[in-house]
Amino acid sequence: MVNSAVNITAVEVRQLVKRYPKAQTDAVDRLSFAVVRGEIFGLLGPNGAGKSTTIGVLTTRVRPTAGHALIAGVDVVAAPQTVRSLLGVVPQRNNLDRSLSVRQNLLFHAAYHGVPKAVRIRRADALLEQFALTDRANDKPEYFSGGQNQRMMIARALMHDPTVLFLDEPTTGLDPAARLFVWDRIRELREAGVTIVLTTHDMDEAAALADRVGIVDSGRLLALDSPMSLVRGLTAGATLEVAVEPAGETGMARLLDRLGALAGVQRCVQVDSAGAVRTIRLHLTGDAGPLVARVAAAIVELGGRLIGVEIRESSLEDVFIELTGRRLR
């Protein structure tokens, strides 16, 4: 039994470094984090941040240059076979067995893991049902949609009842309905007690699913906490985003100074530019409403043209911008 005061570590990464041959920099650079049993842990970062490489090391497919990675206390380098029996993997790219039907994909996967025949047949039926694949069970996955492939890969990964499930970019390229379906299944798995590590470059996904989020960029861990704490740590209030056409570069600099100095504005950054139009984001200490008029007045006073105003809650993307100075793409 799990004592409520004690969290059991399902995944642990200590000072992990990976440098690929011929690469100039480390793909993963002294990364450390721990995932508690039963939680959904999200690695959030842009493409090329080192998320997939980290998953690769944890799933025994990438050899680490330095550091340690453990699954349920077992070192991935020292005992890769044991580790492989503990984890389920849903890769970023479709790697389904195209020569086998949907049901055979599930059954053979379980057989590779030594699951007894009666158990694997029962489990396959249940998972086909849960992932809405029963009516396609005897089809080959050749002509499946991205959503069907993804559902199938998750179902397959669960066939040997893994301790930890790794999902690498689980909803990239899926349409909104398929994405929500996958989100619901992931939440169900958490309810069932499966530990989940997922990577995503989508802040909405991280915020919607993850109990805790590690923000990574250039192989480094920049922040680690629950999505709510990360956002709260950034700013107490709302966010106001304005699109302006400033009076030249000097006008823009003066505008940033002026807006940053307004009472109620905690911080002010330019987050985007398209042609002459710049997007400025203001992190506020309180509500945005009272400030809108003063911000508009300041823009006009400095010879700028106000194009758009948007009031938003702060999000993980703001945290990323704060940490790296650029948008999450």
Partner: protein, 277 residues
């Protein structure tokens, strides 16, 4: 429940000893069964793929040209063992090279097996075992086909031991050559690589001529001596038609064992390189 406040304890590593041999044997068996099931569904296509070429060779060179008087009658009996040898080697090479290029290159299908609780070498060994299984089946089918095309094929009960040994060794060597090619050649260059590797292998393997008869063409004799298929062909001749000049059986076995070590090592190194980054 967050990890930041509460005590974090690492679970005792209960299974560090690793999966049991029974589990690994079951896992290995399942991986092999997968290949058997997939091939079984396409048995006719498989046999057509591996047998069409030797059957035409047999028909044109063993039957047609002999019937027209361009080749002597005993040419068929020296060609037949060579074609069985070629079928064994080429079937095995193709059975590892093609799937490995595809599975590591674009379908990524092999990943699910690489994540099974098996050592990497066992996943590679299964590929080799299955490839030689295919090669042995293809070679066995050559005999009834040979009888059908030629009317009779050379057979010698006393040579059976040598025949089976050479066929098994030849199939393993072929599978290892295929694994070497399939893992070292980048997927984008595979078409040109197959053309550059297969055509020379096909014609320098002493399939269509006995090796000792090349004495007058020394450079070609040296070239063919470097092709492992030569020793499969010559070993088959030693077993089936000992009256035709051939390399002694024990030399063939020795040369095939050396090839097995060389290409087995290369194949395993290549497989490891592709399986782990």
């Amino acid at each position: 429940m967050t990890a930041t406040t509460a005590e974090v304890r690492t679970e005792p590593a209960a299974e560090v000893r690793g999966p049991s041999w029974t589990l690994m044997a079951r896992s290995f068996g399942s991986v092999l069964r997968r290949d058997v099931v997939v091939t079984g569904k396409d048995l006719v296509a498989f046999l057509a793929q591996v047998l069409l070429q030797p059957v035409f060779f047999l028909f044109v060179f063993g039957k047609l040209l002999t019937g027209l008087g361009y080749t002597s009658h005993n040419y068929a009996s020296l060609l037949f063992p060579g074609l069985v040898a070629l079928t064994v080697a080429v079937t095995a090479i193709q059975a590892t090279a093609f799937p490995l290029v595809a599975e590591f290159g674009w379908t990524k299908e092999i990943e699910d097996r690489l994540l099974a609780p098996l050592p990497l070498w066992a996943v590679a060994a299964e590929k080799l075992l299955f490839a030689s299984l295919r090669a042995i089946v293809a070679a066995a089918v050559m005999f009834p086909i040979g009888i059908g095309v030629l009317g009779a094929v050379p057979y010698r009960a006393a040579g059976m031991g040598l025949l089976v040994t050479v066929a098994l060794l030849g199939s393993f060597v072929g599978a290892c050559i295929g694994m070497t090619v399939g893992t070292f050649v980048p997927p984008t260059k595979i078409n040109i690589a197959f053309a550059l590797i297969f055509t020379p292998l096909l014609f320098t393997g002493a399939t269509q001529y006995p090796w000792p008869s090349l004495a007058g063409l020394r450079w070609f004799q040296v070239v063919t001596a470097a092709n492992p298929i030569t020793y499969v062909s010559e070993g088959m001749r030693a077993a089936l038609v000992p009256g035709i000049p051939h390399i002694p059986g024990w030399i063939c076995i020795l040369a095939l064992l050396v090839s097995l070590v060389v290409f087995g090592t290369l194949g395993m190194v290549g497989f490891r390189r592709r399986a782990i980054d």
